[in-house]
């Protein structure tokens, strides 16, 4: 033990009362200031959405509306099929997620447990596609979807997004972590491969499925570029796309209270999903790092 360390031990032995934790207090205060910075945009969005048009452009800006009103929400609903758009986002996100779960869990299981010619090469190809930016596939994908007649349709929004190399990778890693003995026991009991997968393996995959589900839902809900390319009808727009076009709907001065009302409607469902499924969201982010 160095002399410095000995002094330290002697000193800590002598002090009966713990000194005031200055470092931790400062850290805490700095974090609070940071948290305020993180929250202000959300509060400003909510506040503006509750103001009547006459109160939006006032100086100095007021964070608390003088007369809170839901008028902006009503106006957005009147000038835009907002409920239809909300429904579109839900339908597209739910079906994309279900499709991804089915495709990824089955393919992931095959890569984890089946032995077949070219398996590892094929899996490497799947993994390699993870590196390819969407911009590369975008143009041909658009032409394929257009050729199939899927522009301005749910099919175009959902089907291409069902095949994700990330999902297959995640499920494969999970199945590899389960003991093979489980399937061997089921096979001895006369269970077919599919029913072993369906009745034994899937029920055990809750954590992986939850992660993939939340992650895929989030990516679909927030996706912007792809809907922008293939949807032009108002009736098939998803929330982010509708919100982006809302910017140009009102002639003249930007109606910030209406735009912020649309923003609240877009952001709130995802925030609720996050609060309910925090653990799986964080899991998805830390394992994949992809933002969709």
């Amino acid at each position: 033990m160095t002399s410095q360390a000995r002094t330290m031990v002697r000193e800590t032995g002598r002090t009966r009362r713990k000194p005031f934790p200055w470092g931790r207090t400062l850290t805490f205060l700095a974090l609070l200031v940071g948290a305020a910075v993180m929250m202000v945009p959300f509060l400003w969005m909510l506040s503006t959405s509750l103001k009547p048009s006459t109160d939006v452009l006032t100086l100095p800006p007021r964070l608390i509306p003088r007369e809170p009103t839901l008028g902006a929400y009503g106006e957005v609903a009147a000038s835009f099929p907002i409920w239809r758009v909300l429904l579109n986002s839900v339908v597209v996100a739910v079906l994309t997620t279900l499709g991804q779960l089915v495709v990824s869990s089955m393919a992931g299981y095959a890569f984890a447990r089946f032995r077949f010619w070219g398996r590892d090469a094929l899996f490497t190809v799947f993994l390699a596609t993870l590196m390819v930016p969407f911009a590369v596939t975008m143009t041909p994908l658009f032409i394929i979807v257009k050729t199939l007649g899927w522009t301005n349709s749910y099919l175009g929004l959902i089907v291409p997004a069902m095949f994700s190399a990330f999902g297959i990778f995640l499920m494969r890693q999970f199945f590899l972590s389960l003991p093979v003995e489980l399937e061997e026991a089921a096979t001895l009991d006369g269970s077919s491969t599919f029913s072993t997968f369906w009745r034994v393996m899937l029920p055990l995959s809750g954590p992986a499925i939850a992660t993939l589900a939340v992650f895929s839902f989030m990516a679909s809900w927030n996706n912007f570029l792809w809907p922008l390319l293939i949807v032009s009808h108002q009736n098939l727009m998803t929330l982010p796309l509708a919100l982006a076009t809302l910017q140009g709907v009102y002639p003249g001065q930007t109606q910030w209270n209406l735009i912020m009302a649309g923003t609240v409607l877009t952001v709130t469902p995802m925030i609720l999903v996050f609060l309910l499924a925090q653990r799986w969201v964080v899991e998805g982010v830390t394992t994949s790092g992809l933002k969709g």
């Binding site: 360390a5 805490f28 974090l31 940071g34 948290a35 910075v37 993180m38 929250m39 945009p41 959300f42 400003w44 969005m45 939006v56 452009l57 006032t58 495709v103 089955m106 299981y109 095959a110 447990r113 089946f114 077949f116 596609t129 590196m131 930016p133 969407f134 911009a135 590369v136 596939t137 975008m138 143009t139 041909p140 658009f142 032409i143 394929i144 095949f163 190399a165 297959i168 599919f194 927030n222 570029l225 922008l228 390319l229 929330l239 982010p240 796309l241 919100l243 982006a244 912020m260 923003t263 877009t266 925030i271 996050f274 609060l275 925090q278 969201v281 964080v282 982010v285 830390t286 992809l290």
Partner: protein
Amino acid sequence: MYERGLRRYGTLALFLGPALIGAAVFLIGPILASLALAFARWDLLTPARLAGLANFRQMLGDPEFWAALRHTLTFIAGYVPPVMVLGFLVAVALNSRIPGRGLLRAVYFLPVVTSWVAVGLVWKWLLNPQYGLINNALSHLGVPGPAWLFDPAYALAAVILTSLWKDLGFVMTILLAGLQTIPQEYYEAAAIDGASPAQLQRLITLPLLMPAVFFALTISLINSFQVFDQVYVMTGGGPAGATTVLIERIVKSAFSYSQMGYAAAMSWVLFGLVFATSFLISRLRGRWAA
């Protein structure tokens, strides 16, 4: 896997078939088609024709492409270092024993789950030169705020600022997950040996956090090469083209000018940049670990 013959292939087809067909049509097919398109000219109306390296030559003489590349690289330079440093600081702070840790983590992470269109619009409003909250706060400090998104000198900086706010929680989360894998005993043992808090950070936290740091760094770099949504919503590439980025140039070439081959060629240059960056980072990481 224990079955034989035709039945075995039937099972394999059942499990792998959907993924293979889907990936062939919507993922791998388009990648190969895009590679072919990069060496062709196609305006969607007349048949495509081979053009060799014409698209790449066009890029060399296209000032808009170079401007988009410059803006993308500027974005990366202004965004990646601060997002890593701030993310690290917040992660370390949120890893210590402080009250309300769980809630604070959620607050910092909240912007990550929101759509870029929504938060892009909120920030556009916050950055409004006259009625925005930010310039009003600045005027209280006696600083005249710039016109932000309307000023070519500040527009990209404003987009970077917004991106930092949105992605801080993302980097923080990855680093926090890394911090939590470091065994607490290491710190206790080192403290008994007389290590100062600064030494604990330098000798234990940093080296053991390196895998998470490199992961976050790689992802941040790859994502920022593909910056698009925030720019589209906040500035539309303006003012005066000051914020046009690579993806925007590609989207515009393909969908406004119907230059499918040229767009594909640019997208492969983007891929090359992403690939080279990931490769360099992995080499760097290997050297660090060695």
